[in-house]
Structures are given as C-alpha cells and as structure tokens.
C-alpha cells in the first residue's frame, strides 16, 4: 500500500488531504468539506480605489470632445443659415490646419523635416481629392427629403459620440503599431457619413468642399491633437478644455437658450454626476478569482 496511508492509519483519524488520488479517504465521505474549502478564493483583487477629484479630471476629456462636436454642429447650422459664407469657412479651415500642425510640432519631438514633407504631401492629396469629389457630394442625396437627412445625421452623431474612443485617438501618430478597436473605427465612419449628408444640403460646390474639409479635419484630427496636448501637459489640457467649454457654451447661448441648458446639463452630468455615480457603485463590485481561473499568459502572442 501507499506508505503515506500506512503511516496515517496508526492514528485514529488521518488528516484529510485535498487530493484526488488514492480512492476514498478513510474516515471521510466524498462530500467532506474541509475548512480549507474556498481557501484559494480571492475577492475583488483588481478593484482600484478611485478618487473623486481624479475621476472628475479624467472625465474632462469627454466633455472636451463633446464641446468639439457641438462646435462642429454650430458651424454646420451657421453655414446652412448662411451666417458664415464660404470664404470665411475656408479661412477657418486653413487656420485650423495650421494651428493643428503647430500644436503637433510643439508637442511631439519626433517630427522631422521628411515626415513633415510626407504630411504636407498627404494632406494636399487629400484636399485635391475632396475638391474633385465635392460636386458628387453636393448632389448625392438630392432625392431624399431634408428631414430624413437631419434625422440620420443626428443619430449618426449620437452613435459617433457613443462609440468614440475617448482615451486615445483613432488616427494614430506615426510609428504607433497598435490597431484601433472596431468600435472606434465605426465611430469615425459614422461621423464622416454624417458630414457627407450634411454637406449635401449646401447650395454651392465651394460650400460643400469647405464644410467637408472642416468636418473631416475636426473629426479625424481633433482627437489626435487633444491627445497630444494631454500627453504633453495635463495642465495645458485642462486649460484648453475649459476655454473650449466656455467658448462653446457662449456660442450656443447666442444661438438658442434651450440648447444651452441641454449642453450645460450634459456637461455637468458627465463631469460631476457620472464620477460620483461611478464611485458610489464601486461598493457593489463583486469579483471572484481563484485557482479555477484560466491562467493568463505573461507574454505577448505575436501571431
């Protein structure tokens, strides 16, 4: 027999062991439950204790992007009501492009002359294609009523905001390997489609070109720019976001009172209510880990 078992049998009741081999353990039923039962269970191992202030500061980047989208919609409405003409729109485009470039240039050290040239080449190609395609965009949805276009554009924007990747930018800085997630790709596409729909309601080709350029610049590159600012200095990011919020709120106030109230309450909800909520629901967290979990590999698999 097993020497271990033989030794144990001299004592009246051998100790129960947590083993599966050797048949039924003498003196114990198979449903014996030791005090070591569930000893290996760990509860809430990966729960992070969150600080209210930190969560609030982190949520600023969400409201920042909300304001950016609100500003885009503001520009759209102004263009549709002809408050802004096509020349000033083009001026806005150029100034945005230049300021965006400058911010990238200052916040990222890795930009070289050749990379800059590469950027300029790409963007000029992009602008040319957009200009050539502008007539197509203008007549794209002529047979569809304006109401449906507004409805679709609005829901696409909501989808865009819902799926947007607020932690980093979908359009990557050069040299980043990681591929964006599917949801953030859908988000970017939704915003582009919304811009196309919007642009198709405009009276002239130049209008369409200017507004498309504006929307695409903002939707594709604003996340990258804000991400770079945030990485460069968190303080600068906060100042930038706050000024953006004040600017947006004042513009919206001039446009419509009710929209102002809606935007303001949305910002309060995102920045104050949600962080408080998140911290409150932490106590309901119930996470179980133990020896039955699938082991995690401690290295990256490169397929």
């Amino acid at each position: 027999m097993d020497p271990g078992l033989a030794n144990n049998s001299s004592s009246p009741r051998p100790r129960w062991r947590k083993v599966a081999y050797g048949g039924m353990q003498p003196g114990y039923d198979d449903n014996h439950t030791d005090e070591s039962f569930l000893e290996g269970m760990v509860m809430n191992a990966s729960v992070v204790k969150r600080d209210m202030l930190k969560v609030m500061l982190d949520s600023v980047s969400i409201s920042e992007y909300l304001c950016i989208v609100a500003l885009v919609v503001l520009v759209w409405t102004c263009t549709l009501t002809s408050t802004i003409d096509e020349n000033s729109l083009l001026l806005i485009d150029v100034s945005l492009l230049v300021s965006g470039f400058l911010i990238l240039l200052f916040t990222q050290e890795m930009l070289s002359l050749s990379l800059l040239l590469h950027y300029v080449l790409n963007i000029s190609f992009f602008i040319t294609v957009l200009y050539v395609l502008a007539p197509i965009y203008q007549t794209l949805t002529r047979s569809i009523s304006s109401d449906s276009i507004w409805a679709v554009a609005a829901s696409l924007l909501v989808l865009h905001l819902f799926l947007h990747d607020y932690s980093e930018s979908t359009v990557k800085a050069p040299g980043v390997l990681k591929n964006p997630a599917l949801t953030s790709c859908i988000s970017v596409n939704a915003s582009v489609v919304a811009s196309v729909f919007m642009a198709s309601r405009l009276p002239s080709r130049l209008h369409v070109f200017a507004i498309m350029l504006f929307s695409l610049q903002v939707f594709l590159f604003a996340p990258l720019v804000t991400y770079c600012i945030k990485k460069y200095s968190f303080r600068m990011h906060l100042c930038f976001s706050l000024s953006l919020m004040v600017m947006t709120l004042s513009f919206v106030y001039m446009l419509h009172r009710l929209l102002f109230v809606v935007l303001l309450s949305l910002l309060v909800f995102v920045n104050v209510v949600c962080p408080y909520w998140l911290i409150r629901i932490q106590e309901y967290k119930f996470e179980i880990n133990g020896p039955w979990d699938e082991a995690k590999l401690c290295f990256d698999i490169t397929d």
């Binding site: 083993v19 599966a20 198979d30 133990g290 020896p291 979990d293 590999l297 290295f299």
Partner: protein, 447 residues
Amino acid sequence: MMMGDPQKHRILMVSDFFYPNFGGVENHIYYLSQCLLKLGHKVVVATHSYGNRSGVRYMTGGLKVYYVPWRPFVMQNTLPTFYGLLPIIRIILIRERITVVHGHQAFSTFCHEALMHARTMGYKVVFTDHSLYGFSDVGSIHMNKVLQFTLADVSQAICVSHTSKENTVLRSGLPPEKVFVVPNAVDTSIFKPAVNRPSGPEIVIVVISRLVYRKGVDLLVEVIPEVCRLHPNVRFIIGGDGPKRVRLEEMREKHSLQDRVEMLGAVQHVQVRSVLISGHIFLNSSLTEAFCIAILEAASCGLLTVSTRVGGVPEVLPDEMIVLAEPDPGDMVHAIQKAISILPKIDPQVMHNRMRELYNWHDVAKRTEIVYDRALKCSNQNLLERLSRYLFCGAWAGKLFCLVMIVGFLLWQLLELWQPEDDIEEVSDFSLPHNCDEDMLEENPVK
C-alpha cells in the same frame, strides 16, 4: 460480484458527449457505466444521434445506448429547445423503469434539458461537472446562469476534483455538502509501460493535446526552443492537431529544430499509448484543467509528468510523480530541467504499479453508487416547493426559470393524458452471461 447490496439502481446517463465522439467525458461515461453494470445496476445511456448512428445500440457488457434523433448544431451540442426532448425522455424513463438520472458536462444542452424534464417528472437527479469556468467573461456568466438553473433542483452533484467542487459551489450556489468529489480514473490495463524502455543518452519529451489556446500551446512555443538550447540530448514529440499547430511549426522553422521536434498531427486514442511509451517525460501546458486524464494516462505508462499548476492538476498525482510549474515559460523550463535531473530515479514499472493502486474505475463506480444511494434518500418535493427554489436564482432569472418549469409541468400533464404511462410498454431486462467479457476491464489487483 453481488456484495449483498440491497439497492440496485436503474440509471440513465445523459449527455451530448458519447462515443463515437471522443474525449474525457465520453470516456468517463463509458467506463463508469461498464463498472456500474458489473456492480449489478442497470445502466442506459442517452445521447444525440451521430451522423447516421441513430436509434438504440448495444455496447460491451449489455450497455444500452439511445441515440436520440436530434441533430447537434454547434460543437456536438443540440439546439436548446427547452421542451423538444420531453416526450422522448419521458418514454425512455418509463420504458426502462429508471430510478436515477445522471447528467454529464455543464455545456451539454441535452443533459440540461433531460435533467429538467426528469425533475418535472419527479425523478432523482445527479449531475457531474467536468469543467472549470471563470466568472468574468460573458460566455461564463451565461453558462453559470444555466448551470444555476439546472443545479437549483438536483438531488446531488459530483465534481471531478476539489478545485472543481469549489468552482461548482460558487457558480451554482449549491450547499457544499451536496457536492461530492469523485475523480476520473484510468484504465491501467491499457496504459502499460513499454517492456523495453527507450534507452541511450536521448531524452524524449512527449506532448499530446489538442493544439488550442486553452491547452497552452503558446507556452510550448516559448519553452521548446529554450529546452532544446539547454539540453542537446532532448527531443520533442508532439501529438495532436488544432488551430495553434501553425504556431508550433513556425517555431520549429525559426529555430531550425525540424530534427528535434516531431509533429505527429492528430493521434487516435488507440495510438496514444504507443506514442507515450516512446518518451520519458510527459509535458502538459494547459492554462485551465478540471482534472486532466492525459496526465493519468502518461503516469500509467511510466512517464514522469511536468505540468502547469492550474485548476485541479495539483490534486491529481502525488508530489513524487509530477513536477509542477507556474504557467510561465521560465518556470516551466526550470521544471523540465528538474524533471530531467530526477529522471534516472524513475522506474516506469514502479510508477505503473503505483497508479494501479491510486486510480481504478471500479473504485469510481463504488463511490458514485454511494452518491446514488444518497440521491434516492432525498425527500420528494411537490412543484410548489421546487418553484420556490428556482425563485431564489435571481430577480429576473428566478421568475423566468419558474415560468419555464411551470410550462414544462403542464406539457408533462398533457402528455400523461395523451399517452398514459400504463400504455407505454416496459422493456424486459436481460443479463449477459457474466464471463463473456471479464477481461474487458481490469479487476482490482489489491483485493
């Protein structure tokens, strides 16, 4: 054989997984049934049809198998229809005069449905859980709810290891004293060590598993080149197939180990022994494992096992027969080096003899028999008492479960009216002459 046990059970084993499909659960059901038959019980197996194998078949020892004509739709699982199986399960239960229904495997829909109907009809129900589940991903959360539904009302449950018991208790909310631990076993008469062990300076490490993520193939990809670099006399034999095979082949090309890593592809179960006995060390790199029969088979063939310390693996073998390592390439290489250093002290025949003492299907059957006895002693409950148990399963789920059970009960009553129990013919029992397949299962050598 008849030990004077007064109670002879009539058991129905239900699971989606049975021969001709092959795996741990199938093996378990087959060997357990054979040994229960030897103990004098009546055993019937119900599973879904496999290809054109449908209807009633008899297997070795008079084991009757119902292949219910019910198509599997994914991974050998039947489509969950809730009530589709009720008529045929009812007829099988009545015809065979079943007393205990024993379901296997948590992700078998056939098993869950059959157990549900058996409970509706007032039968005693035992469930065996063969796998481990986490609590974090969506699939596990869904599975755990389904398991909670089935287990809310079982008479007794069986797990294959203590870790699996902890897991099942947490997932289903069963009281721990209702959950028994009855491990798997291995047929040591099939897995015998080689008469002439491969000698010489060369050390062969064998890996036999499906080549999938859960079996830790990515660990192997890291470990094999390192071991080959450290020990020029080590050779690997890898049996099995799967989506991760490409990764292994890439690794072999990259480190030019074609002459030292042999890939066999899928290995038939009958050939497993011949592959095992060509090696000295068995390597298991699973990331999760409730029990791991492969380790038993290897140890029974006299191989020293190196395994990851996951799930129920540490409980399976005594410390001197296995070298455990954390699921991390560095630690595994270390464990393999340790195994190589203690290899000269290992005598395969001694290890095989030890395994014959440690694991035996007859022992498993006897322990399962005790569980059946306990299940039959459980009090009968009416529908209302049982519904209250389902109601505790969750705010929404509880009510849903109750609804499912009530509809099942009504359908059963309807069937009783449409085809009364007395109209169903009962099958007469027959017993095989006892000596016809005595060699099929090895008798316990330590009487």
